[in-house]
Amino acid sequence: MTADIRTVPVTLLRAGAALLGAYGYVLGLWLARHGLNPEPVATVREWVNRPLGLGEDFGPLAVMLLLAATGYAIGGRRPVRLVLTAVPALVATACVCFFVYHDMARLLEFLPLVLIGLVTRWTLGGTLPTWAGVLLGAACFGAVIAADDALPGLRRWWYPVAATFAALLFLVAVRPGPTATAVAAHPVTRGLALVAEVPLLVGSALALVVVP
């Protein structure tokens, strides 16, 4: 059974978001709320997170990957199913912003990634000319930076860096080669892609229950 080439990027990105979301918003959040920094996590924080400039144990990166995949997925849908596809990811993101960050304005930093996914889908599909796609994508990225500047207290978390990584990983994933397609066809990857919103919801529940 050949996988539909257009679902491969979505599967890969959602699986990545599931893994990183579990690491960042479940494990990382639990450790942070207890003030712990045990060994394998401490080394990853010092040797991977810090050099790359990705904070919160890749949590925001996971959200951004999920939203980019969602944007890409809804680009191929008719309006009714569009809502069904987008709602879980948006609800999960809203839960994270509300329960973990207590700051709904942070949605403004995450939502442009949906538009980037959408614009990319339309550009690759020919609906949008390339120059328009590039301009719109850059504008969405500018929106992330503008939101980061406007919202107080976010500067030190470097969300635009996470957005850069998310956008680059997304753009690489939308042109999958045979290996990527094979990985996406694997049952583990597909299972992870199915449950991509779950770590975000679990993290939100954790944030409610475990108070620092």
Binding site: G28, A32, R45, N49, G53, G55, E56, R156, W157, V161
Partner: protein
């Protein structure tokens, strides 16, 4: 078959790297062990440790900017008397912003004391040096901040303030000097207010 060889080569290279790290550590030069400064890391989840640079940028045109130089500069950038006193007290690295605006020079100096040294001893030593040099004690906004001032006298035309305090492993100096007393007072008060609000003594 080809994929197995590729994977095998990657695993062997990774094992080589891990083995080297296990044997030789992560490359810190043991001769520099006496120069290490451990900066407190309040939140390991942040993408960068903001405590690495605990000074704000003074207003005006920057005439000295060693704040973002990775290893900082040696204490010898300071005048000889100060450099000697500070080095004896354990200062190994100096990062500074010095700016000039409107005839007033304002500076912020972050002097890192090595692990094993005592930043408060460096604080006392530098304050004693200034006291011995004729700088008078000036009113201080905070018990942990020692402020000294100098007025024009003899052939010396400058008014100046030097404030020192300790934050973590750093001895931080706030300075302002110039020939116009009122402007120096203002500039120093503003700069000290900003610096102490953002990076209070600890």
């Amino acid at each position: 078959m080809r994929i197995h060889i590729v994977v095998l080569v990657h695993v062997l290279l990774a094992a080589l790297a891990v083995g080297a790290i296990a044997v030789w550590g992560t490359g810190a030069d043991p001769a520099l062990a006496g120069q290490r400064v451990t900066v407190p890391d309040r939140d390991p989840r942040l993408p960068d440790n903001p405590e690495r640079l605990a000074i704000v940028r003074p207003p005006g045109v920057l005439v000295t900017d060693t704040a973002t130089v990775k290893q900082g500069t040696a204490p010898s950038v300071l005048p000889e008397g100060e450099a000697e006193v500070l080095t004896d007290a354990g200062v190994v690295e100096v990062n500074a912003y010095v700016a000039r605006e409107d005839g007033i020079t304002q500076g912020l100096w972050q002097m890192s004391v090595r692990d094993g040294g005592d930043p408060r001893q460096a604080l006392r030593a530098i304050d004693d040096l200034y006291a011995a040099g004729g700088w008078r004690q000036a009113p201080t906004p905070d018990r942990d901040v020692l402020v000294r001032e100098q007025r024009p006298a003899g052939g010396q035309r400058f008014s100046g303030y030097r404030a020192h305090y300790v934050r973590g492993p750093y001895l931080i100096r706030i300075e302002a000097y110039g020939t116009d007393q009122a402007k120096v007072d203002d500039a120093f008060a503003t700069l000290a207010g900003r610096q102490l609000a953002q990076w209070p003594p600890r």
